[in-house]
Amino acid sequence: MAGKLLSSRLATLVLLAAIIAVVPLLAPSAFYLRVAAVVWVFALAALGLTILMGYAGQVSLGHAGFLGIGGYAVAIGPAQFGLHPALCLVIGAALAGLLAYLVGRPILKLKGYYLAIATLGFGVILALIFHSESQWTGGPDGMQVARVTLFGWRLSGAVNWYWVTGGALMIGAWIALNIGASPTGRALKALHDSEVAAAGSGIDVSAKKLAAFVIGAVYAAVAGGLLAAMNGLITPDAAGFMHSIELVAMVIIGGLGSVFGAVVGAAFLVVLPQALTFMHDYEQAVLGFLIMAFMIFLPAGIVPTLRKWLLERLS
């Protein structure tokens, strides 16, 4: 009974909604809401990787590239073409999905380290384009993103963005949970463990991998669009290699394949650097040390380990 409850879709969503609702009551200032909103956005991007890496077992070291596509779509669309930012968010997501579809076909034939390096190369190319096509992207300094107006209401301030990003995360978590419990999710998890047995069961392995890659790209692009609009700024760094690695680290620290784990992993890597600023010069070293410690003591990730511990306590 307890096990069923802990692993049910509804329980995860209720818990997530409760956290999103409670944080503003506890936050002493708008700064904390701003940090929380960044957590929700990165959690959303990490959820895409949860589907790709956690469910289907396919690594992507270039995922921030898709984040950049979403971000620049929201920046370039209104500035160059006068399009509404919300429409640009949709266009960015569609572009990222299309690009993932085209690139994914040849790239996903590769496995393991080879796939990792190929996706890495893809991410580097995207970051380079954002960096050097300065007539469109503003170059290394990035570009301003116009303020968003929705139904005549100007979307600004930490509180508004907190709720927008929290809502987006809820939708993203809901979809990721749905996939996990569906025939598609079972097919992805199956090919993660044995491609040959999955194919033998009639699963079109390359088509399913491609679907996971496209879905993951769309998640990242939406997150990138929200991030750019919230910050009012997008730079090539957002699409850079370090962000790709961070996304992968979030998924693994939180717990590979766990939807709630992606959120916890994102919180870990967004909040900790802020919390450790009092250490000045040692901040990065302590952060690295903490990541290592968590991986050594909770190798299955924070959420799966906690869930197991809770289940053992309850039974």
């Binding site: 949970l177 569906s182 025939p183 999955a198 079109d204």
Partner: protein
Amino acid sequence: MSLLRVEGLGISFGGLVAVDNVGFSVEAGQVFSIIGPNGAGKTTLFNLVTGIYKPLRGRVTMGGDDVTGLAPHLLAKRGMSRTFQNLQIFFRMTALENVMVGRHMAERSSLLSDLLGLPAADRQTRATREAAMGLLERVGLSDVANATAGALSYGVLKRLEIARALAASPKVLLLDEPAAGCNAVETEAIDHLIGEIAKSGVAVVLIEHDMKLVMKISDRVLVLAQGRHLAEGPPREVRDNPAVIAAYLGDHGTREADRAHG
């Protein structure tokens, strides 16, 4: 028209001829066994038939349709299912979920309804779960349905693979050493199960080293040696074939077979 027909199949790996000009055909309801010493090319033959390797020579037909070199998932759609000598289990999933994956082709739900968790997707999952539960019962594994596959014993996983293969409602079922590593009781259960599967009209192709099992349940036996067709016929005939005795069974094997026949 045979349900499965293999003609002149061959493949080489870097100059080594692994399977050379092998042919056989299997009818519905038949148990067709492939035996031969280690390295005879039995599993390679399975891999050629099930699309894991593309044959260099020869043809595979199912019910008259040429299916040579089709991708494994397309062969599965045409009714071919298999188990693996070295277990290919979804270790992170439960036993029940393993069999549910086997029902993949029977599942009717779109990507969109899966994404949005529409009632159709949930209904499909419930139907799949019920069917998978029935199959677990059939192979006697309903009590471990919710255990993670990675925690189950070898003999249990062998039966789980059969349940997963059956979940696809195959017309042709290829079993690669289903009784390997199983104790006498488990072997007995698998023996019984294979008989039942064949009786339901499935063409069963079996690779097995347990001669007692092979002699007892096979309608026909094909003997491979060094990738080549050595002999084929009913178990009794193959057992008495001097070439087979010399090349493979030996004195010990003949005694085993005698014992099987009582």
